[in-house]
C-alpha cells in the first residue's frame, strides 16, 4: 500500500511538473478539451432544465376540456357531472370565457389587449381538471380525454402528457445533438491530447531515456504521462465548469425573465452534483485516453 501511494504521488508530482513547465505546449490541448466540455455541459444544462419542467408538468396531471360556444345548460350540467363523478378526477374547475380572457391577458401581456380588437371574446368556456396522483398514467388520461371529448357540447379535450410527449421528443433530440456534437468535439480533444503528449514525449525523449538510465521503471515513465493526460482533462473540466457557471450566473443576473418568452417558465438551476462529477470524469477520461493513445499501438517508441 505504501509503495502504491509512493508510486501514485511520484506520478502526480511528475505530471504536475510536466504540465507547469510545458504549459505553452499543453495550453492548446487544454483549450480544445475545455471547449468540448463547455459544449457538452451546455447541452446537459439545457436538457436538465427542460427535464425539470417536464417532470413538473407530469406531476401536475392536468387536463383541459373545451366547450363549444353554443353549449346548452343541460349539456354543461351533464359534462360537469361526468367530470365530477369520474374516479380518477381529484378536482376540477370551470373557467368561463371572461376568466379565460383575463388569464390570457395576464399570461401574454406583451401581446397587448388584442382581445379588445375583436368584436366578441373568441375564447371558449373550459374545465381545468386535475387527475388524482395515483391515476396519472398515460392510459387513464387518454381514456378520460376520449370519454370527455365524446360528450355533447365538448369541442375537444387535451391533457398535458400530449404536450409533454412532444417536448420530451424535443429534449431527446436536444440530448442526442448534445451527445453527438459534444462527443465529436471530445474525440477531437482526445486526438489533440494524444498528439500533444506525443510531441511532449518526443521532445523529452532524452529526459525519458535519462530517467530509464537512473533506474526509473516503465510504470513510472509511462504512468506519469498517463497521469499528465488525466490531469489535463481534469483541469479542462474545472475550467469548463467555471465558464458554464459564469455564463449561467451572467444569464440569471442580466436577462429579463419577461424577455425569455417560453423560457421564462423554466425553474432555472445549474448542473446537479452528479452531472458536475460526470463532466469532470469525462474530461479526465478523455485526457487519460489521449495519453494512452500516445503510448499505445502506433504510439511513441524511441528505444
Amino acid at each position: 500500500m505504501k509503495a502504491l501511494f509512493g508510486y501514485a504521488s511520484l506520478c502526480i508530482e511528475e505530471a504536475g511538473r510536466g504540465i507547469w513547465f510545458h504549459r505553452r505546449v499543453v495550453a492548446p490541448a487544454l483549450i480544445v478539451m475545455m471547449a468540448s466540455l463547455v459544449v457538452l455541459g451546455a447541452f446537459m444544462l439545457a436538457s436538465d432544465n427542460l427535464n425539470a419542467v417536464l417532470s413538473g408538468w407530469r406531476e401536475r396531471g392536468q387536463l383541459q376540456v373545451f366547450l363549444v360556444p353554443e353549449v346548452t345548460p343541460a349539456q354543461q350540467a351533464a359534462i360537469d357531472s361526468a367530470i365530477g363523478g369520474h374516479s380518477a378526477v381529484e378536482e376540477y374547475r370551470f373557467i368561463d370565457p371572461e376568466e379565460a380572457a383575463a388569464l390570457f391577458r395576464s399570461d401574454f401581456s406583451e401581446l397587448g389587449d388584442v382581445l379588445a380588437l375583436l368584436e366578441e371574446n373568441p375564447l371558449p368556456g373550459s374545465y381545468a381538471v386535475t387527475i388524482a396522483a395515483p391515476m396519472r398514467s398515460e392510459r387513464v388520461l387518454q381514456q378520460l380525454t376520449d370519454d370527455l371529448a365524446a360528450l355533447p357540447g365538448v369541442e375537444g379535450a387535451q391533457y398535458d402528457l400530449e404536450i409533454i410527449g412532444r417536448l420530451e421528443l424535443g429534449v431527446r433530440a436536444l440530448r442526442l445533438v448534445g451527445v453527438l456534437l459534444g462527443g465529436t468535439v471530445l474525440l477531437a480533444a482526445m486526438i489533440t491530447t494524444a498528439n500533444v503528449i506525443r510531441v511532449m514525449v518526443f521532445a523529452r525523449r532524452r529526459e525519458i531515456e535519462t530517467m530509464r538510465l537512473v533506474g526509473a521503471s516503465e510504470a513510472v515513465v509511462v504512468g506519469r504521462f498517463l497521469v499528465e493526460g488525466g490531469l489535463q482533462g481534469l483541469l479542462a473540466g474545472l475550467l469548463a465548469l467555471a465558464v458554464l457557471l459564469t455564463a449561467y450566473s451572467f444569464g440569471l443576473a442580466y436577462l429579463d425573465p419577461d424577455s425569455l418568452g417560453f423560457l421564462s417558465i423554466l425553474p432555472l438551476r445549474f448542473l446537479s452534483p452528479l452531472m458536475i462529477g460526470g463532466l469532470l470524469a469525462g474530461g479526465t477520461i478523455t485526457g487519460l485516453l489521449g495519453s494512452w493513445f500516445a503510448f499505445g499501438p502506433g504510439g511513441v517508441r524511441f528505444d
Binding site: 532524452r206 529526459e207 535519462t210 530517467m211 530509464r212 538510465l213 537512473v214 533506474g215 521503471s217
Partner: protein, 226 residues
C-alpha cells in the same frame, strides 16, 4: 564485479568490440581508454545494459546481461551509478530535484530523497548550488551534480563515460579526487577517458581498447591527487 568472456559486439558489418575478455574485481578502480570511436562507450553501454553483446557472455554484479529481462533492467540499473560526459541532467528541475528524483524512483519519500540529495551535493561540493537549474550551472558543476545523482542509489558499481572531457584541468583533477574518494568507500569504479594525464595522475589498472580489442595494462600508483 565484471566478467566478460569472448564478448563481441557488431553493428551490421561493423565490429565495434571483438572477443573481449576481462575481469574487474569488486572495489577496483579501472580506467578504460582508447582513441575516439575505439569502442569505450559501446563497452560501457553494454555494462549498464543499454546494448547487448552480439556474442559471448557479460556478467555484471552477478547478472548475465544477455539474459536480463526487460522488467529486471530498472532494478539492475539502480545498483549502478552512471556519469555521462554531458551530465544528462533533466532541464526542468533544480540540481537537488535531479538527484532527489532518483530517490523517489528508489521508493524514498520526498523529504528523505531531498535530505539524502543534499548530503550528496555536499560530498561533491555542490550544496550551494542545490536550487539552481542545469542552465545556470557551469560544465564542471553539472558534472558534479551528475556524479551526486549517480551516488544516490549507493551503487556497487560506478560507470563514468568521459566525465572530465568538457572540464578544465583543475576541475578535472577535482572530479578525479571525488571519484577516488568514492572508490575508497568500496564502490567499484570504471572511468572511461582518453586523457593520458589523468591516467598517469592516478596510476591505476587501465583497459585499453584498440581496433575493437581490449587489453589490460597493470599500473602502480605514481602519484595521487591530494
Amino acid at each position: 564485479m565484471i566478467r566478460a568472456f569472448h564478448v563481441t559486439k557488431r553493428y551490421g558489418s561493423i565490429t565495434a568490440l571483438r572477443d573481449v575478455n576481462v575481469q574487474i574485481r569488486p572495489g577496483e578502480f579501472v580506467f578504460l581508454t582508447g582513441a575516439s570511436g575505439a569502442g569505450k562507450t559501446t563497452f560501457l553501454r553494454m555494462l549498464y545494459r543499454a546494448e547487448l553483446p552480439t556474442s559471448g557472455q557479460l556478467i555484471v554484479d552477478g547478472r548475465n546481461i544477455a539474459s536480463l529481462r526487460s522488467r529486471e533492467v530498472p532494478g539492475f540499473r539502480r545498483r549502478i551509478g552512471l556519469v555521462f560526459q554531458d551530465a544528462r541532467l533533466i532541464d526542468d528541475r533544480s540540481s537537488l530535484e535531479n538527484i532527489a528524483f532518483v530517490g523517489r524512483v528508489l521508493g524514498l519519500a520526498r523529504g528523505e530523497s531531498r535530505r539524502r540529495g543534499m548530503e550528496l551535493l555536499k560530498l561533491t561540493g555542490m550544496d550551494h548550488r542545490a536550487e539552481l537549474f542545469p542552465a545556470q550551472l557551469s560544465a564542471g558543476e553539472k558534472q558534479r551534480v551528475g556524479l551526486a545523482r549517480a551516488l544516490m542509489s549507493a551503487p556497487v558499481l560506478l560507470l563514468a563515460d568521459e566525465p572530465t572531457g568538457n572540464l578544465d584541468p583543475d576541475t578535472a583533477i577535482e572530479m578525479l579526487r571525488i571519484f577516488r574518494a568514492i572508490n575508497r568507500r568500496g564502490t567499484t569504479v570504471v572511468l572511461a577517458t582518453h586523457d593520458p594525464d589523468m591516467i598517469a595522475a592516478l596510476g591505476r589498472r587501465t583497459l585499453v581498447i584498440e581496433g575493437g580489442r581490449l587489453r589490460s595494462l597493470e599500473r602502480t600508483v605514481e602519484s595521487e591527487p591530494a
